[in-house]
């Protein structure tokens, strides 16, 4: 008799669930018959920690590498460089083979329709992952019914239906149920509510919050909607052009953003007060070409406070918070590094 249950916690609560070090993914470009035409540096040296039980949000504009990060962590594409540790074990090592890791990490995609096989009924779709891992058909279907119940869809009404007969919100609930079917510890939510109506979006977000408690989950939440992120996340990672610009607790980032890019992103939200709406865009232009990123800080081409030092060398994440609420708040900006030579930086204490 095979049981697929959530695996035991090994490293204890202080051990981060996921540690990614120096993660990089280059997509090589083919140009002509001979020679390579360089590579798109979708993710370029990203360090990341996801703590147990938290919701880490990754935000950034299109093309910054958010989705590539999710696919790298999912093991769907091999990284160019870097390594991933899951609960202290190197993924792919003898202690944690890739298939066992895949069972503990599941994913929900943005397009709720494309992520369901149109030829499988709802219960077959949800029962599919456990059956892949060797659970018998009867048990798998039973589990599918329990999960339908857990995501708020009556099994008697929905189990035999097909994806095209459901609404977007219902389909996304199915996708969530399927992601839960293997009892994972980490769920990667890649823009899970971006394609939904506002009212349905709220329902699905609340469902996600409930399930997190109920199933003891950790979320990696990828989104471009800052209001949603503010609502669900514990910590936020801001990405720009394949690198981390800023990371920190959600309140600290939203209240006191350190990186000029984060400030621009936050200012780009529409205000609820019409008199406070801005006339000029906070950020202009497009991100530079990721094939050939600018030297130094990648944001220097669009940064309102760029100085010569910014195009000379690349800043790394450094702690900027000094209060207890800003613990772990880090940003990669020369203007925040004492003695960097940037006019806004404090002078180095001699």
């Amino acid at each position: 008799m095979l049981h697929i249950d959530q695996p035991e916690d090994r490293g204890g609560p202080a051990q981060p669930l996921v540690i990614a070090r120096g993660l990089a993914k280059y997509f090589p470009l083919k140009r002509g018959l001979f020679g390579s035409g360089g590579a798109v540096k979708a993710v370029d040296g990203l360090d990341l920690e996801i703590k147990k039980g938290e919701t880490l949000a990754i935000v950034g504009e299109s093309g910054c590498g958010k989705s590539t990060v999710s696919r790298l962590l999912m093991g769907l594409i091999p990284p160019t460089a870097g390594e991933v540790l899951f609960d202290g074990e190197l993924v792919g090592s003898a202690a944690l083979p890739a298939k066992e890791y895949l069972r503990q990490v599941q994913m929900v995609f943005q397009d709720s329709y494309a992520s369901l096989n149109p030829r499988l009924s709802i219960e077959e779709s949800i029962a599919f992952p456990p059956m892949v891992h060797g659970l018998g058909r009867t048990e798998a279907v039973e589990r599918a019914h329990d999960l339908l119940d857990a995501v708020g869809l009556a099994p008697g009404l929905f189990a035999g239906r097909y994806p095209h007969e459901l609404s977007g919100g219902q389909r996304q609930r199915i996708n969530i149920a399927r992601a839960l079917a293997l009892r994972p510890r980490l769920i990667i939510l890649d823009e899970p509510v971006s394609a939904l109506d506002k009212s349905v979006e709220a329902q699905v977000l609340n469902l996600l919050m409930d399930l997190k408690e109920q199933f003891g989950l950790t979320y990696l939440f990828i989104s471009h909607d800052l209001n949603v992120v503010h609502h669900v996340a514990d910590r936020v990672l801001v990405m720009y052009l394949g690198r981390a610009a800023e990371i920190g607790p959600v309140e600290s980032i939203f209240a006191a953003p350190g990186h000029p890019y984060t400030r621009g992103l936050l200012a780009s939200r529409l205000s609820m007060d019409p008199t406070k709406r801005r006339k000029t865009p906070p950020l202009t232009g497009d991100p530079p070409n990721p094939v050939n990123p600018p030297p130094g800080c990648r944001f220097n081409t669009r940064c309102p406070i760029a100085e010569p030092v910014c195009s000379n060398s690349q800043p790394n994440l450094a702690a900027i918070g000094h209060t207890i609420h800003a613990l772990g708040h880090e940003a990669a900006c020369w203007a925040l590094v004492p003695g960097s030579g940037h006019s806004l930086a404090t002078r180095k204490v001699a």
């Binding site: 599941q106 369901l116 779709s125 891992h133 239906r161 992601a179």
Partner: protein, 291 residues
């Protein structure tokens, strides 16, 4: 949250199916001929092999013949209707047999090429090009001429020549579907390549498969008739439509109905199957989903 919904109606997969007149015509023709083939010993008035040298070249009733031989008799005095009915068996056997084997070959190659892409695709593409560069009739004639012309051999030879459309269509559909997120999520669930291809991709290309299959059945039936006409089809005295046309060609200027009857029958069957294939394709396309 409780949702109060009416009980669901049974799932209708192809709700517009019965309303297509082309579908009704094509399916009707096919069912008619399949029944003829299955019930041949029951419905044929005579044995297709019984010769009667007294009663040669009797005309069919609509040309002033007798009701004892509705479609007349051929140059050896065999009942033409009985031979026509038994000939259905050969045509359908060749049609379905060939498509079953060539579907297997073409779908396997198409799935491999579309799923793995890269080098596998290059190799399969090369094999497809080799096959496309071979003239079907010429190759069929030479192989059958060398190996012999029994029914299984003809089916195998035609299968080896008719799989290309399956491969091309399935390859294209597979390439589309493998990028869909449900394939990604199956992989995320830990499913291996074989399971992904069989459980996720194959059911979604099945619709395209059916469309190609109907067209290829007609193609195979025509090719068998052509081979039989050239004397390389099934062996006489087995009744086959192409054979009947070939035997009648000596008297075509005197008794042209001997060629017209099997020719028209062939036309109706092939037309019916093609119309059915077209109707299936039309039913598949507007939903916007690759089926």
């Amino acid at each position: 949250m409780t949702l109060v919904l009416p009980p669901t109606a049974p799932v209708r997969r192809w709700p517009r199916l019965p309303r297509q007149s082309g579908f009704i015509f094509g399916a009707g023709v096919l069912v008619f001929f399949v029944l003829c083939a299955l019930l041949a010993p029951v419905i044929s008035p005579y044995s297709p092999y019984d010769q009667s040298l007294d009663g040669r070249l009797m005309r069919p009733v609509f040309m002033g013949g007798e009701w004892s031989h509705i479609l007349g008799t051929d140059t050896l005095g065999r009942d033409y209707l009985s031979r026509l009915i038994y000939g259905t068996r050969v045509s359908l056997l060749i049609g379905f047999g060939t498509v079953a084997v060539s579907c297997l070959i073409g779908t396997t190659l198409g799935l491999l090429a579309g799923y793995y892409r890269g080098r596998v695709d290059l190799v399969v593409g090369f094999i497809i090009n080799v096959r496309l560069s071979l003239p079907i009739i010429l190759v069929a004639i030479s192989v059958v001429g060398i190996v012999g012309n029994t029914l299984p051999i003809i089916i195998l030879v035609l299968s080896g020549l008719l799989w290309d459309r399956f491969a091309v269509v399935i390859r294209a559909l597979t390439m589309q579907i493998r990028e869909r997120e449900f394939v990604l999520s199956a992989r995320a669930a830990g499913a291996g390549d074989l399971r992904i291809v069989v459980c996720e991709i194959l059911p979604n290309v099945a619709g395209g498969l059916v469309v190609v299959a109907t067209l290829e059945i007609a193609h195979a039936i025509l090719l068998e008739a052509a081979l039989s006409f050239l004397g390389l089809g099934v062996q006489p005295p087995t009744a086959s439509w192409g054979q009947m046309i070939a035997e009648a060609k000596d008297v075509v200027f005197f008794e042209s109905w001997l060629i017209n009857i099997p020719g028209l029958t062939l036309l109706v069957l092939v037309l019916g199957i093609n119309v059915l294939g077209d109707a299936l394709r039309n039913m598949v396309a507007p939903s916007g989903r690759p089926l």
